[in-house]
Subunit: 317 residues, 2 copies
């Protein structure tokens, strides 16, 4: 949760003067998102989310994220829609930081997804991939395969401190993943952080997705592999075959996987687990670092790697 | 800002089953209030704030606060209105902690109140006092005069560390205030924390007040004295006679002060400054203590005490 940057009534008035949204009726900082500051802003014209981008987001990448949301929305995908100001710009500034106003998206995220939620999440992810087709923006995955070895460098000891021998196991994961990583799968814009807290439901129906600030070009099946890790393990980190089958079935109801994509899921999921283990390790080592957030435990992903090392996913494919 | 307690989708569903509010459409933790956890909850029936009461709030005192808000609302005062559940109870529990659902109150708080805001705040405070008249609940001011000496005990060194000699100055304030504290002023339920962040405006019109969890029985003029400290000093802690005159004028437009109340304002304001200096000193010493909040600087109130020691208020009365 965040709200690093505050906004005063005077700053809000200045901001809204640039938009055709009427005046502010209420504005509340929300404890959501760990990268940016977010406010629920009600104006005479409706309900919006004001996002102030903090240091982790590169300003030159914002047009990609904004453009992607605009493209998704234009193709009927439910996501926050960036609102242009009177000059047609969807990006503005608050207290010297880049900021954007987007429409408010209704829906609830779920803490413990059921099989039905997984199926709906699969449907939603496939719709996202379909709606993003043809988006002209380009952004390489800065947290993809090439980034993992540099991320791990200098952090072997930190891994070993978490669990004896974990440094060697992660090194072996890195080697195995690098040796067999698929390179010819269908690619396109992916969400890359389609976790349960970024996905909204209306009961068990998919209602939309938020937080596109890790989106990038990569293999579409890699996005599904990230979801297998994020949605299909229980709080004790045990794999749930029922959840995984439902997630994949939901995805394929909208976009059938190719044989190559299906075959690649185990290694993609192992790689995805390495990625989230490593970035969580970085955050864990750094501590909260001024953020109003408890770093997520990297060990959740070490447990997923235990599972992927046994090729456990194969049983359900 | 808070959100100490989280609420899951499952807990939310269980909670709403007890109310006639339809199902949840969205629920966001808000970074507001330092005592409790707050969520903006949108249901099929409207917009509400769910408050989960944390350790600082005594559960046996909640019926007083809830009853006061109900009374104020029944008399037309704009404040959050506690929503009874299907059994007629306005208090419920979430994750073992007491909780309440209230209506959402529109409005914006102001960071730097203008003279016009001060006048409107005065109007609002007087309306609150009028609307609370006849409320049957009783709650002594646990942070009133009798509490200050015990609060200061053992913290003299802490005060002296903030500023050399401050311990002796505060001790003299305590003695002076105790010697001349008025005891026969009109009393009734007071807000006791009518600070700019708890008061909402629609432009410069008073739109309502929130956060009644310091409310108690005390001298009505003491509530106004708290406001003189909170609204009428600039960010450099310089007194603004224009703001103070406007605050008092707004108050008197709704409820004229008696001569005794007016004469007592300087000592009441000095006492109010002692009260906020001391409670901030306690929080400052304790640190954030797990709360997602930066303690407020007690020195803001040491500066107000400098002003009150010179009887500065008298010039505008």
């Amino acid at each position: 949760m965040a709200v690093y940057t505050d906004i005063t009534d005077a700053e809000l008035e200045t901001l809204l003067a640039g938009y055709d949204l009427g005046r502010a009726l209420s504005c509340k900082g929300v404890a959501e998102g760990i990268e940016n500051s977010n406010f629920i802003l009600e104006t005479e014209r409706g309900r919006f989310v004001l996002t102030i981008y903090e240091r982790r987001v590169r300003e030159d990448e914002l047009p990609y994220f904004i453009g992607l949301m605009q493209t998704l929305a234009a193709h009927g995908f439910p996501c926050p829609i960036p609102v242009p100001d009177r000059c047609g710009n969807a990006l503005t500034r608050v207290r010297g930081k880049p900021a954007a106003l987007c429409t408010f998206l209704n829906g609830l995220s779920v803490r413990r997804p059921t099989v039905a939620h997984c199926e709906a999440a699969g449907v939603g992810l496939a719709r996202l991939h379909a709606a993003a087709e043809g988006f002209a923006g380009r952004r390489a995955n800065t947290l993809g395969l090439a980034a993992w070895t540099p991320l791990f460098k200098g952090r072997q000891d930190a891994a070993a401190r978490l669990e004896p021998g974990l440094d060697q196991r992660i090194a072996a994961d890195l080697a195995a993943v690098a040796a067999t990583w698929p390179t010819d799968l269908p690619t396109g814009p992916i969400h890359a952080d389609f976790f349960p807290d970024n996905v909204f439901f209306d009961e068990t129906r998919f209602a939309g997705a938020i937080d596109f600030y890790f989106a990038c070009d990569d293999a579409l099946a890699y996005d599904l592999a990230i979801c297998l890790n994020a949605w299909c393990f229980d709080p004790e980190h045990r794999f749930s075959p029922g959840h995984a089958r439902a997630l994949i079935a939901g995805y394929e109801a909208e976009r059938p996987l190719t044989d190559e994509e299906r075959d690649a899921l185990p290694i993609l999921a192992r790689g995805a687990a390495v990625r989230f283990f490593l970035t969580r390790l970085v955050d864990w080592e750094r501590g909260a670092d001024g953020a109003l957030v408890t770093p997520k435990n990297p060990m959740d992903y070490a447990r997923r790697l235990d599972f992927h090392r046994t090729d456990g996913l194969k049983a359900i494919l």
